[in-house]
Every structure is written in C-alpha cells, then in structure tokens.
Amino acid sequence: MENKEFLADRIRTMEYHLNMGPQHPATHGVMRMILTLDGEEIKDVEPVLGYIHRSIEKMCERDTYKQIIHLTDRLDYLSAHMNGEAVALLVEKALGIEVSDRIRVIRTMIAELTRIASHLLWWGVMGMDTGALTTFMYAFRDREMINDIFEETCGARLTMNYNVIGGVRYDLHENFQKRVKEFIKHMKKKLPEFDRLLSDNVIFRKRTEGVGYISKEDAIAHGLNGPTGRGSGFSCDIRKIHPYSAYDMVEFDEILLNGGDSFSRYKVRILEMWESLRILEQLVDKIPEGEYRMKTKAVIKLPVGEHLQRVETARGDFGVYVISDGGKTPYRLKFRSPGFANLHGLNAMTKGEKIADLVVNFSTIDVVVPDIDR
C-alpha cells in the first residue's frame, strides 16, 4: 500500500496538447482542433475555425437576391444544389411565386443526385480515414457518373449554380433521363459491393461499433442534425417534417437508427443512398411537362420582415434566415449550417476515446469545412 502511494507520487501521467490541423489529412480541409490528451486518450477537443472564412454572410448583405445564390454554392460545396435551392425557395415563398411541378421535380432529382454524390464522397473518405484507401477510388468511380449528369445539364460538376429565383437555369438535357436510369442501375449493383468491402469488414466493424456514442437526448441538445442526428434516433429529416419541392409527391422512408455510435451514423448514410435511389426511381419517368423557369421581376425586393427556409442537405438541416428591410439586398442574412452544429457534438462523442476514434467520429459527422467557415 505504501509502495503504491510512493509510486503515485512520483510516477504520474501528464496531459498534453496536440494540434490537429490546420494541415492534417483527417480534418478534411483547413480546420484545426486542439486536443487535450492523456497518452492516447482524448480529454477535450476544441475546434479552432476560420482558416477559410470568407464572410459570405457579410457579402450577402451587399448582393442582390439573384447574386446570393452563386455564393451558397461555396458554402457546403458537396450540397451546392440544395443550398441554392434554400435561397430560391425562400425568395419564392416570400414573393408568393408558385413554381411549376416540373421545376419542383427537377430540383428534387438534382438534389437527390447531389445527396448521393455527397454521401459517396463521404464513404470514400470514411474508408480512407479508417485506413482502407481503395474505397476512395470506388466511390469516385460512381460519383463521376453523377458529375457527368450535372455537367451535361447544369454546365458544371460541383458548384453548379443551377437554381435561379423562380426555377432552374436550363431545362433538363435530353440525355438526362437515360443517364439517370443508367446510374440507378449501376448504383444498385455497386452499393452491395460497398457493404461487402467495408461495412461488413470485421476490422471496420470493430473500429466503428460502440465508438463515439451519443444519446438521442444529447444529440438533440447539441443540435446534431442530418444523418448524424438520425444515427442517434433523432427524427430530423426536413424532407419529412417540413416538405418542400417535390418531396410530398414521392414515397420514401426517413432512415432512423438508434445505435448512436459511429456505425449507426455510417449505416444511415448508406441506407440514405438507397432511399435517394428510390426517390429518383419514382421521379425519373414522371417528370411533368411545364416551364422550367417562371417569369420573375427584374429587380427582386423581399417584403419587410423575417423569412426562414429550411432544407435537408446531405449534411443535415440547412437554414437560410433573412431579415429584409424591403430593399434589393437583405438587411441581415444568416446561413444556419448543419456542419457547424454537428461539429459541436464531436466533443461529447469523443471524450475518453482514442485519437483513432476521433478520426472515425470526425469522419462520421461528415463536416465540410467551408460550410463551417462561412
């Protein structure tokens, strides 16, 4: 007993700080985390942000509503379409513009394709973060097909800037339906392969199951949303709760898993790809005829007051909040970014786990840094 006290007095461990980032392969961009570590065990995670802050909210106060949309592409570039859709929907709602069914369906289809593309990229990177480097190229092979669809119809592969107020910029390309059908067929073959390669792998299971647990109550309190929140059983799919565009026209399930660990969050995204395919399948043959772009005024002024529009991006609950003073530009515009909220959950998930778990958890909350550093 005496000996034990003697040792405890002289041999002690010391907590130390480790700077993870801004140049680190696991931070998915320029982000920095200050870790407080005891050996390899994490005591605290404090994110330090702002390395690519561009002050988009301030720029929006300067720009007209038409010009804002192209800035939203640069927020969460993997859900570029959905971000733009949020602004377009907000302005349409405020001005009372009824868009045609064709526009709604086109927007929904592009949004679901974007969601699959985003989840595919996430899947590839998730594999890389756990050390399986090959997943990345497999994911990019399939993502390439979506990017080709986008390029043909929207003119760009990533920051498409396809939304305009009152519709979309171009009509669908004549090859669109054919390509989407091809993609659905291809993807249905490849998704089970993803499971065989990574999801079922015993090492991967061990790395993710039971790691980074966060309960439903904590998830809600920390504001986790999107697939991250749904992995904890928090029903937060805006497509279901506040349907917009064509989501009330299609059948799909909100994926809810109650595990709360990294594997649940992983599985939610995999299953969401299946759901997105299901939505695409329902819509691809039934794109209604109609206008692809409604006529709008040359100068758009929102009525005085406050406007809020929420959409479900690939990362979660994206919100645009505009305070208008009746002018051409918003008085104050706030982008509620899903990644920023999810990032805060990281600390709660990771405390007491190892560095390797931090990397996995960080990967499963799927942040895109420009989305956080708006």
Partner: protein
C-alpha cells in the same frame, strides 16, 4: 401548438414578454435580457412547449440596438418559435449564456461574439472563433469599416 396557443401559454409566464406576430411566419417572443435564462429554461422544460432543439442563433445589428435571434423547435410537437433579445448598449453588450440550456449554442455564441461583440456571461470559453484574437472591430455590425478588404457597391 399553433401560434395563438403558444402565445397564450408563454404570456402567462411573465408580463414583461412582448409578442410580435407580424412579419414572420413564426411567433416571435421578445424577451428582456434579464429574463433570458429563465424564459429559455421554461421554454425547454415546459411539457406543452418543449423547445428542446435550438435550430439557429443569429446575431443582428438593428442600428441602435443589437440583438440575438434564437430559432427554437420542438422535436415532440414540431412547432417553432423565435426568441429575440435586445440590448441598447453598443459599447459593452452582454447577455447570459444559454450554453447550459441548449449546448448547441456553445459555438454559436462564440460566433456571435466574434462578429457582433456581444458577450455571453458565464460562457466557458468565449473567444473569437473565426477571426484572430487581434482583430479590431466587429465585422458584421453595420458601422464596421474596413477600407482595404471591403468592396462596397
């Protein structure tokens, strides 16, 4: 609950709460700064309101006043409310932190402090989260001037 039911419910808590129904699709509660924590706790814990999900927190510069807008949602009832709080003090604005009521506000409060200079009392680690510590001024305030980097049209 609908807008009017919410109003009825919340107005019974205190007479100092002010309600606005125009200009927004949600009910807006204007809370005096000293009642902020108390109201927030009630909004979260009362079974009929149960606003457990802090959706968004926005700092706003209204000209003379500075304010913070909280968008709250209930995950059980799926209703939303806007909670607003103002201060006239532009030199040293401060509110109570809500980071223990809704942990989601923790980083958001840092963001509001960073851009508007609104302090949050009792916040564990209030810092400039996006800008560097040496940055002068509060960029999203309307009176912020940066002649070098800002392109004004």
């Amino acid at each position: 609950m609908t807008k009017s039911e919410l109003k009825e419910k919340i107005s019974s808590w205190s007479e100092e709460l002010n309600f606005v129904e125009e200009g927004s699709e949600f009910l807006v509660v204007e809370v005096p700064a000293h009642l902020l924590r108390e109201t927030a706790l009630k909004l979260r814990d009362d079974k009929d309101t149960a606003f457990d999900y802090m959706f968004s927190m926005t700092g706003v510069d209204y000209g003379e006043k500075l304010g913070v807008v909280y968008h709250l949602e209930s995950t059980t009832h799926h209703h939303m409310i806007e909670m607003k709080v103002y201060t006239d003090d532009r030199e040293n604005p401060a509110f109570d932190t809500l980071s223990d009521v809704w942990p989601a506000t923790y980083l958001n409060e840092c963001e509001v402090y960073d851009f508007f200079g609104i302090k949050f009392n009792n916040h564990k680690n209030l810092r400039r989260i996006f800008l560097e510590e040496e940055w002068k001024g509060w960029p999203l305030r309307k009176d912020y001037v940066d002649e070098v980097n800002m392109l004004i049209r």
